[in-house]
Each structure stands twice: as structure tokens, then as C-alpha cells.
């Protein structure tokens, strides 16, 4: 499975499991792989491959985005009344100019537990995915927090939209409209939250229930005249 030369990106989704995106190569189509590194015998980790639809065949690298380091509460969260449900976490895969594919990390994890080491076809896991209905030319930046995708649609006027892939969010916002190129994956409409930030944004990131917008001001010191 790992024999040929492929671009890889990877991130731990829990203590041992690594979610990796393998780009296409001459020999292989791109896929998402869940590697279980728990065994320390030096053997190749058990890998479950999740195949992607033909739409992705020329993706030499996959751009995965997920929240890091959140599978267990940090010591500072011990007094929090509630925590993000790690089984409902999402990750996104960039569809380049066509937007993003959201998928439930927990669903892949469950499939991997029940059929570890297998190749899982797109039709078998596409029900755990959705496409956020983002108008792409407007798109600027996305970030994931738990089961929600936040999208900054314009850097200049800082418009933020939210896509909710929680159990309740899916029941409410999953559209009947589908994308044929991806074998009928359903669109997820935004929650309707639209915020315009009062300043331009350089960078944006989210964590816990906070979002940090970095905005930079440059102050010029007056130059003394001769």
C-alpha cells in the first residue's frame, strides 16, 4: 500500500491512530488512510484505506484539515460543564475550486475498527460526508472546531459563516440537493449565522468555543525633519 512515491499529510486523531491523506501517483489513486500505530512490534501499522470518488484521480496531494490535539480534554478543561463530543468530530478535504468535503472522523474510525486493514470503497462511506454550500469565489479561509466548520468568506470585510455537522445540525441543515460528481453527496447549508467583523482579518483560528482573528495594525513613527 505504501510502496510507491506519494505525497502524504497526516495528523493523529487519537493517541494511536493517524489520519493520512495519500495523493495520487502513477500506480495509485488518492485515498484517505487510517493507520493504527498502537502495536510497537516494528510491523507495518494496520491501515484502513478509504477510497475517494473518480473526481479526485488527479489530486497528487490531499489537503486535509482537522482540529489538532482534541481527542482528550486538556487539564484546563476538567472543570468545563461539557466537552466537544470526540465521536462527532469532523475533518475537511479540499476540493480545490469546488469547495470542501466534510467527513465524520468518528464514522471512519468505527469503520476502521470493524473492518481494520481493509480497503473501503467510496460508496461505503460517502453517507458520512457532506459538502458545505460555500460560494467558492468568495471563500477565504476555513477552520474546524469539533463538528462545525467555520468559513471566513472575505478577508477584507470578515464575513463568517458556520456549517454544523452535529447530529442536530445534520437533521436541520442537510439539504436534499446533491453533487453528482461525488456520487450524490448531499450539501450542508449554513446555519444562517453571518457575521461581519469590524476589521480586516489576516489570519483566523478557532479552539474551545473561541475564535481568534488576527488583525495587524502598523503604526508609523513620525520621521523627524532636518
Amino acid at each position: 500500500m505504501l510502496e510507491d512515491e506519494r505525497n502524504v499529510c497526516a495528523e493523529f486523531i487519537d493517541d494511536y491512530r493517524l489520519l493520512a491523506g495519500f495523493g495520487s501517483s502513477k500506480k495509485s489513486l488518492p485515498c484517505i488512510v487510517l493507520m493504527d500505530t498502537e502495536e510497537d512490534s516494528g510491523e507495518v501499522p494496520m491501515q484502513t484505506s478509504f477510497h475517494l470518488p473518480p473526481h479526485f484521480h488527479n489530486y497528487t496531494s490531499l489537503d486535509l484539515s482537522l482540529e489538532r490535539g482534541v481527542h482528550k480534554p486538556s487539564p484546563r478543561e476538567h472543570l468545563a460543564p461539557f466537552l466537544q463530543d470526540s465521536t462527532q468530530r469532523i475533518a475537511t478535504l479540499s476540493l480545490r475550486s469546488s469547495g470542501y468535503l466534510i467527513f465524520a472522523v468518528g464514522a471512519l474510525s468505527r469503520l476502521s475498527k470493524s473492518r481494520g486493514g481493509c480497503e473501503i470503497g467510496w460508496d461505503e462511506w460517502k453517507t458520512h460526508t457532506a459538502i458545505p454550500a460555500i460560494r467558492m469565489p468568495d471563500f477565504a479561509q476555513i477552520w474546524v472546531s469539533g463538528c462545525r466548520l467555520f468559513c471566513l468568506t472575505s478577508i477584507m470585510d470578515g464575513k463568517v459563516q458556520v456549517y454544523d455537522f452535529s447530529v442536530g445540525g445534520r437533521a436541520k441543515y442537510l439539504s436534499e440537493q446533491t453533487k453528482a460528481k461525488l456520487g450524490g453527496v448531499r450539501y450542508l447549508v449554513s446555519t444562517g449565522t453571518k457575521v461581519c467583523l469590524p476589521w480586516g482579518v489576516d489570519d483566523v483560528n478557532g479552539g474551545h468555543d473561541s475564535i481568534i482573528f488576527f488583525h495587524v495594525s502598523i503604526l508609523f513613527s513620525p520621521v523627524p525633519r532636518d
Binding site: 505504501l2 510507491d4 512515491e5 506519494r6 502524504v8 497526516a10 495528523e11 493523529f12 487519537d14 494511536y16 493517524l18 500505530t37 502495536e39 510497537d40 516494528g42 510491523e43 501499522p45 482540529e67 489538532r68 490535539g69 482534541v70 481527542h71 482528550k72 480534554p73 486538556s74 487539564p75 484546563r76 478543561e77 476538567h78 472543570l79 468545563a80 460543564p81 461539557f82 466537552l83 466537544q84 463530543d85 469539533g146 462545525r148 463568517v160 458556520v162 455537522f165 452535529s166 447530529v167 442536530g168 445540525g169 437533521a171 449565522t193 457575521v195 467583523l197 469590524p198 489570519d203 483560528n205 478557532g206 479552539g207 474551545h208 468555543d209 473561541s210 475564535i211 481568534i212 482573528f213
Partner: protein, 258 residues
């Protein structure tokens, strides 16, 4: 009654059945009665529907948890900026990556690592800021990853080692050949203070990439005991997985024989 609903198994079963059937109140009459008679179960289902889970360990009252949930959901709907800070003199060095976030903590690498926990009023997480030093490395830190759950941060650097060795040819002639190897060097430190991590047997671990054609780190990720680093090679990339606590290499993927 088929099972004891006071145990956690009962709760999970209820929620499992509920969510499989697209909406939580479409359950049979017995379950519906149980759900409606238990404010705690209702609250847990509300949390689950919102992608959250109840934190019994916090030991707070149900009323307080409900209020916190309402506040959280209303903040999500409004998304109004809650606080504006000004932090001057942040100069992100050109060679470093963008600010990184893991476990709700932001890191900005300057001449040291500045860490920010923005906190969360609804989750009773206080705001905190602190700074840790970057280990002195040959060259510079190429990438880093941290995991607040294990108080660990890993810095990745590349260290070039030039070797001069004797190549004996078939026909009795010999020559001196100069070649360089690159080591992927990982420095393990605590996220809280930047000191050596008590669980890491070796504070510095390395992997020699023969051939010297590694010139960057593609990605690095760390968990409570595992560390993965990948470096791009001319044709593909190598990937190494360690148990960072014991410094043992668990798996190496080489796309070609370097």
C-alpha cells in the same frame, strides 16, 4: 423493564437508538417516558445533538450546565466578538510556519514560543498566556507540533553531517568520496515550561536520512505517546513514527532506496 437505566449503559443505549432514527423524540413510548421523566437524560441528549458531551467530572449542577449550554449555543448563533486584545511586538519569523493551534491553545513562534489559551467563559476555562524557549538547534526549527493533553511539544530540525569516507573500487583503485547525510532531529520539551519532559527517556531523538537530499519537514504530529515526522525527498517522502516516550522507532516508510 429490560435493563437498569440508572447505569451509563442505559444512557448510551437510549441515545444510540434515538439518533439512529433521525430525531431524538422518535423513540418508543417506554423510552419517551423515561427521557421525559429525567432532566439529566434530556440534557445529555441536547448536548449530544449539539455535538457535545456531558462532563460529569466537573461536578457542577444540572441547572448550571444547562445555562452554560444555552450561552454556548447563543454565542454560536451570534458570533459576536467577545474580547479584543492587543498584543504588540509579535514578529513571526519568515522561516516559521503560521500560528498553530492544538487542544485550544495557540502557539506563535518568534524567538521563543508564545502560547495563548483564549479561555472560554461558558466552559469555565480561564484565559492564560505564557512563553517557552525554543531549544538551541543547529540551523533552525523547521516545524513543531504539540499536544496539551500530554504537556508535550516537539520541535523538528534538520542537521547536516558531512562524511568523508573511502570507496574501494573493484580494480584496486580507491578514492575519497564526500557525501552528506541529513539527520531529522526532534527536541521534546514540556508545553508548560519548555523543560525536559519527565516521560521522554531521551529529550532529543533523531533519524538519519542517508543521501542528504532532505531539505525540509513536510509535517509533524504528536499524540500522548506517538510522534510522526515526514520529510520530502526527491521522489516522494520518508515518514518515521516513534514512540516518543521510549525513543523507539516503530515504523519507517521510504519510497525509494536512498
Amino acid at each position: 423493564m429490560f435493563w437498569d437505566l440508572s447505569g451509563s449503559g442505559g444512557y448510551h443505549l437510549l441515545v444510540g437508538i434515538s439518533t439512529e432514527h433521525s430525531w431524538i423524540w422518535q423513540v418508543n413510548r417506554v423510552f419517551r417516558g423515561v427521557i421525559l421523566s429525567s432532566p439529566l437524560i434530556q440534557h445529555k441528549i441536547d448536548l449530544y445533538a449539539a455535538g457535545l458531551e456531558y462532563n460529569a467530572a466537573a461536578g457542577i449542577s444540572l441547572a448550571e450546565s444547562r445555562t452554560a449550554l444555552q450561552r454556548y449555543l447563543s454565542s454560536l448563533d451570534l458570533l459576536r466578538p467577545a474580547k479584543e486584545w492587543t498584543r504588540g511586538s509579535i514578529q513571526i519569523l519568515e522561516d516559521y510556519h503560521d500560528p498553530t493551534i492544538a487542544g485550544g491553545i495557540y502557539a506563535i513562534v518568534e524567538e521563543s514560543v508564545r502560547l495563548f489559551n483564549p479561555g472560554s467563559p461558558s466552559q469555565r476555562i480561564p484565559h492564560k498566556e505564557w512563553e517557552i524557549p525554543i531549544p538551541s538547534v543547529q540551523g533552525y526549527v523547521r516545524d513543531y507540533s504539540f499536544y496539551p493533553g500530554a504537556d508535550i511539544i516537539a520541535f523538528a530540525a534538520l542537521q547536516e553531517e558531512t562524511c568523508v569516507y573511502l570507496v574501494v573500487k573493484f580494480v584496486a583503485a580507491s578514492s575519497l568520496r564526500r557525501d552528506s547525510d541529513v539527520q531529522i532531529v526532534i527536541y521534546l520539551r514540556t508545553l508548560s515550561s519548555g523543560g525536559f519532559h519527565p516521560l521522554a527517556r531521551c529529550p532529543t531523538i533523531s533519524y538519519p536520512q542517508k543521501g542528504g537530499d532532505v531539505d525540509d519537514i513536510s509535517f509533524i504530529s504528536i499524540s500522548s505517546s506517538r510522534l510522526v515526522v515526514s520529510a520530502p525527498l526527491e521522489h516522494g517522502g520518508c515518514m518515521v513514527i516513534w514512540d516518543w516516550r521510549s525513543a523507539q522507532i516503530l515504523f519507517v516508510r521510504q519510497p525509494f532506496d536512498a
